[in-house]
């Protein structure tokens, strides 16, 4: 051994590696678990068909969970939109209808269906504009 410095270096490196192995095992970063979906993200979605019909031409807009879900660009008396929502707990709709300022009475009917099954059928009343919350029952 005394005559082979290369062997001595290799032997020393081996000893150091053996000593370092348990330290590495303890200090190595833990494998990252794949991020699972939360209960909220796993919830089943379903298409809700919403039909708005008004007594006078109006611009319509819909908000779901505080976010704009759709709006008409021009005045109309009928508008349909289909929105995917949590079928167990569908969010409330904020419905807004704006007719021309000279309109004296505005009635706005809101119908919500899922697979042709009627869930909500309600009418909002106002003068030239209407705004209210429409709740949708769970499927």
């Amino acid at each position: 051994m005394h005559g082979f410095p290369l062997l001595r270096v290799l032997f020393l490196a081996g000893v150091l590696a053996l000593m370092g192995l348990p330290v590495w095992k303890i200090t190595r970063p833990a494998p990252v678990a794949p991020v699972g979906l939360t209960a909220e993200e796993k919830k089943p979605q379903s298409a809700f068909d919403i039909t708005l019909t008004s007594s006078a031409p109006a611009k319509f807009s819909l908000l779901v969970g505080g976010k704009k879900a759709g709006a008409t660009e021009s005045m109309t008396t009928s508008w349909k939109i289909s929105l995917p929502m949590d079928s167990e707990k569908p969010d409330d709709l904020i419905v807004h209808g704006e007719a021309s300022p000279d309109t004296k009475n505005l009635a706005l009917r809101i119908q919500v269906e899922n697979n042709k099954k009627k869930l909500t059928d309600t009418t909002l009343w106002g003068t030239d504009s209407v705004e209210d919350v429409v709740a949708i029952p769970s499927l």
Binding site: D92, D132, V133
Partner: protein, 291 residues
């Protein structure tokens, strides 16, 4: 004949001008009474805004004030543990119990910091605006019977107040609808917002039970921490009359923020010193924090 007519006319004017003296054992009741009574009522407020009604006991001075009142307004549903004593000493006829006219809900009894699975009536009826409408009508009837000379004014005032309440209800509905249903979870210091939760589809996770006197066990706090983490709840709420120490511990462990102060047991100061102001403050605080 003319003299008799004059006497009747004077009597009529006197009756119309009469002012009722009413004692209110609750800040919300005092505000309703002022709205219904207008100029024809003097409201003696025995519980001041910001006082914890759960720990209130009438002082001898309060008893004197109550005995001078023509009507005593109480919340009922167990809110006033001293009520029976008061009734027996002053006579039951002068008491109006708001809890008799409201639509009640039950909540789980949690007197010792752990659940027994027992249920009792939630006494915080005013967190449902429709209950406040019912109590306004009840108070209007009682005022009109006690002071018939001002019946018309009481009815007109009640109509105006109910219109305000309906506008408040619509505003609250529109505000809450901005929150997805999955985010409608209220972690509050005590279980006082059950009526609000029922009206607006919230789930409540209270730290304490119905009364502020109850203290939560460490297991209950730990359970709550796990639920907050699991449901990724963004904010927890303190109350205007409490030490939010436990809530602060919860926020440290969960990363949820303190969403702001809610007025759970009655009115507060400033903008929250009226029923409408209190409700607007609570709704705005909740929606802003959970969005």
């Amino acid at each position: 004949m003319k003299k008799l007519f004059l006497v009747l006319l004077v009597l009529g004017v006197v009756a119309q001008a009469e002012t009722l003296t009413v004692a209110a054992l609750g800040t919300v009741l005092a505000d309703i009474a002022k709205n219904v009574g207008g100029d024809h009522v003097q409201v003696v407020e025995l519980i001041k805004p910001g006082t914890d009604p759960h720990s209130y006991e009438p002082t001898p001075g309060d008893i004197k004030k109550i005995s001078n009142a023509q009507l005593v307004l109480v919340s009922g549903l167990g809110s006033e543990p001293y009520l029976e004593k008061l009734r027996s000493s002053l006579g039951p006829s002068r008491f109006l119990v708001a809890g008799d006219s409201v639509k009640t809900i039950s909540c789980e009894s949690d007197e010792h910091g752990h659940s027994h699975g027992e249920y009792e009536v939630d006494p915080h009826w005013w967190h449902s605006i429709s209950n406040v409408e019912l109590v306004s009508r009840q108070i209007c009837n009682a005022f009109s019977t006690t002071n018939p000379g001002a019946k018309r004014e009481y009815e007109a005032n009640t109509k105006l107040f109910i219109e305000k309440l309906e506008a408040l209800s619509k505003w609250s509905r529109l505000q809450v609808a901005r929150l997805p249903k999955s985010q409608r979870i209220l972690v509050t210091s005590h279980d006082a917002l059950g009526y609000f939760a029922k009206d607006y589809n919230f789930v409540i996770l209270p730290v304490q039970g119905i009364s502020t006197i109850e203290q939560p066990s460490s297991q209950k706090v730990q359970r709550l921490i796990e639920q907050i983490k699991d449901k990724r709840i963004k904010a927890v709420f303190a109350e205007n009359i409490e030490n939010p120490k436990v809530l602060e511990q919860i926020t440290k462990e969960t990363g949820a923020k303190i969403g702001g102060k809610l007025y759970a047991d009655g009115l507060g100061a400033g903008n929250a010193s009226t029923y409408e102001g209190m409700m607007r403050s609570n709704v705005a605080t909740i929606v802003e924090a959970l969005q």
